[in-house]
């Protein structure tokens, strides 16, 4: 075929693809905003309760998203908090100490872990809870702690991989300067390599936060419920925004409840967008004006 015609077709095709893809996402998000923005407001989150009373936990919020927001916040902070130390340490090991064989084997395991569908991670958390309930403590049930642990499994490979990649990405000069001055390997890691790769690790952590905040499949098997109030203990049930959206979508009882579903979706989307932009800005500052080099994962 004539290359000119082929080229023209390809050009049209590529424009078409971009327009269809971005267009449909923009239509979806636009629809969400148009339908949902009127519902945004103090009442959406706090219902009829005074804001201060709700925040100080003096009064309970029944008709607002406050308990779901508080639940999502706790589950995200706890699970990322749990995954960061383990994930960063594992990343350090992979980058600085692992032998080629270890890099291969561990790397394969991380990749498998990263690819496990989140519902399967949820099923794992759920069966773990049932196991503990049956054989260790009869008082143990699916709860906030189970969700936290399962979500930590979910984001662990993200944090390990970004830590490993940002440390491996450091230049040989950066790596060797302190060593030449007599620093030990561990000193070099804590005083040079970690601080130097901090923004890379941070952007990975922020993406992990986003992943935890949006995940629905893990929590729906491990302790989230439709009504629970503010999470009071690690061993209790809790509410969460993504689950609320799922729940409302199938069982809203009136128009007002449906509107709160739209409101919750906008809030969740907003949270994810802010996290995304934050991670993006940090990464760009790290990469400098030349643009980010595609990070390659070894092993």
């Amino acid at each position: 075929m004539n290359i000119r015609i082929l080229g023209g077709c390809l050009r049209v095709f590529s424009w078409g693809a971009v327009l269809v893809l971005t267009g449909s996402v923009l239509v979806l998000l636009g629809y969400l905003l148009v339908k949902g923005v009127p519902s945004l407001g103090r009442d959406l989150i706090f219902g009829q309760v005074n804001v201060l009373d709700a925040l100080l936990l003096k009064k309970r919020v029944f008709d607002g998203l406050f308990p779901a927001i508080a639940g999502t916040l706790s589950v995200v902070l706890l699970s990322v908090g749990l995954a960061i130390p383990v994930g960063v340490c594992a990343g350090i090991y992979m980058s600085e100490f692992a032998t080629v064989l270890q890099q291969r084997v561990f790397g394969l395991m991380f990749d498998i872990l990263a690819g496990i569908p989140s519902i399967v991670i949820g099923l794992f958390g759920f069966s773990g809870a049932i196991f503990i309930h049956r054989y260790i403590s009869n008082d143990f049930r699916p709860c906030l702690a189970v969700s936290v642990a399962a979500l930590a499994f979910l984001v662990l490979p993200y944090i390990t991989r970004t830590t490993q990649a940002s440390m491996q990405g450091l230049s040989i000069q950066t790596r060797q300067a302190a060593l030449a001055l007599g620093a030990t390997r561990v000193q070099n890691i804590f005083y040079v390599l970690l601080p130097q790769s901090f923004s890379g690790i941070l952007s990975g952590i922020i993406l992990a936060i986003g992943r935890c905040a949006e995940d629905t499949a893990v929590i729906m098997l491990t302790g989230v419920v439709a009504t629970a109030g503010i999470p009071g203990s690690l061993l209790g049930s809790y509410e969460a925004l993504p689950f609320y959206i799922y729940y409302i979508s199938s069982q809203y009882t009136d128009a007002e409840e449906l509107m709160s579903g739209y409101g919750a979706a906008i809030i969740l989307l907003g949270v994810c967008a802010v996290l995304f932009i934050l991670a993006f800005l940090i990464k760009r500052r790290l990469a400098g004006p030349a643009g980010p080099a595609p990070g390659r994962f070894h092993g």
Partner: protein, 277 residues
């Protein structure tokens, strides 16, 4: 003193839950000063009543938290039996095997019907039992065969753990087949929403959940309404149960007492069910 009272209470409960009401006027006050958690799961027809009761109790008593999950009657019975939750709700009476296996205590606090429902715009407003069976077994697939418009019927059903399904299957379908292409929804609330959004839908839903967004279909000439359920004229009816493992104690006991108290029964009426007292 307190111990004595609770012993008396336990004895009373063993005799019959109906005594509790007379013994416990102003049931909400009995929660005052207490704290702890009550976990409830299971039957989805119960959820509006559970939510309202929880709201009343939790507003008055900041130390108490009550969590409510769905799942269906089968889940409620299993979870309470395993000790995963404190109260397992069911829209059917637990079977003898279930009662025996887990030592369940049953508390029936309302009567509810299971009504066939369609979209409000659907001209079909009444069906015979035979027609209903044919729809659910996949023999009738178009609304025009029932005097409606030319459109294929979307059949909605619930999963095996649903008490609503079980009652409907036994009493309305006489244990007939349910076509495998039927869409599944997870709760009474979801069933109502699905029917309200689908002009060609047919499904079954707790009579207490029915409102203007769906149209109840008369079965053999009897409409599913709270009155026909109450009078016993509408046959596809069942009790709403809250079950506990062994005799309830502590907050769980108080919660059940609250459901059976005049205040609790009032909530059941508000949410469209027939009270037992």
């Amino acid at each position: 003193m307190v111990l004595k009272r609770s012993i008396v209470m336990l004895v009373l409960m063993a005799v019959s839950p109906f005594f509790l009401v007379s013994a416990q006027a102003g049931a909400i006050d009995s929660f005052s000063g207490l704290s702890g958690e009550i976990r409830i799961s299971g039957g989805t027809a119960h959820i509006p009543v559970m939510k309202e009761a929880a709201k009343q109790i939790m507003s008055a008593n900041p130390g108490i938290s009550i969590s409510i999950a769905g799942g269906g009657s089968g889940v409620g019975i299993k979870q309470v039996g395993e000790g995963i939750v404190d109260i397992g709700n069911s829209g059917r009476a637990p079977s003898d095997a279930e009662k025996e296996q887990y030592g369940l205590k049953l508390f029936k606090w309302a009567i509810d019907g299971v009504g066939v429902a369609v979209h409000p715009d659907n001209p079909v407003t009444s069906l015979t039992k035979a027609q209903l069976k044919d729809i659910y077994s996949g023999k009738i697939t178009n609304w025009k065969d029932l005097g409606g418009k030319e459109a294929s019927i979307t059949v909605y059903t619930r999963d095996e753990s649903s008490g609503t399904r079980e009652v409907f299957w036994k009493k309305a379908l006489d244990k007939g087949d349910i076509v495998s292409s039927a869409n599944f929804v997870v709760s009474n609330g979801a069933m109502k929403t699905a029917i309200a959004n689908d002009p060609n839908a047919i499904g079954y839903v707790s009579v207490g959940h029915m409102d203007a967004s769906v149209a109840g279909v008369a079965l053999d000439g009897v409409s599913p309404t709270i009155d026909t359920v109450k009078s016993g004229e509408y046959k596809v009816a069942r009790g709403l149960y809250s079950n506990t493992k062994g005799d309830p104690s502590g907050l769980t006991k108080l919660f059940i007492e609250y459901l059976l108290s005049p205040e609790g029964q009032q909530i059941a009426v508000q949410k469209g069910f027939v009270p037992v007292n």
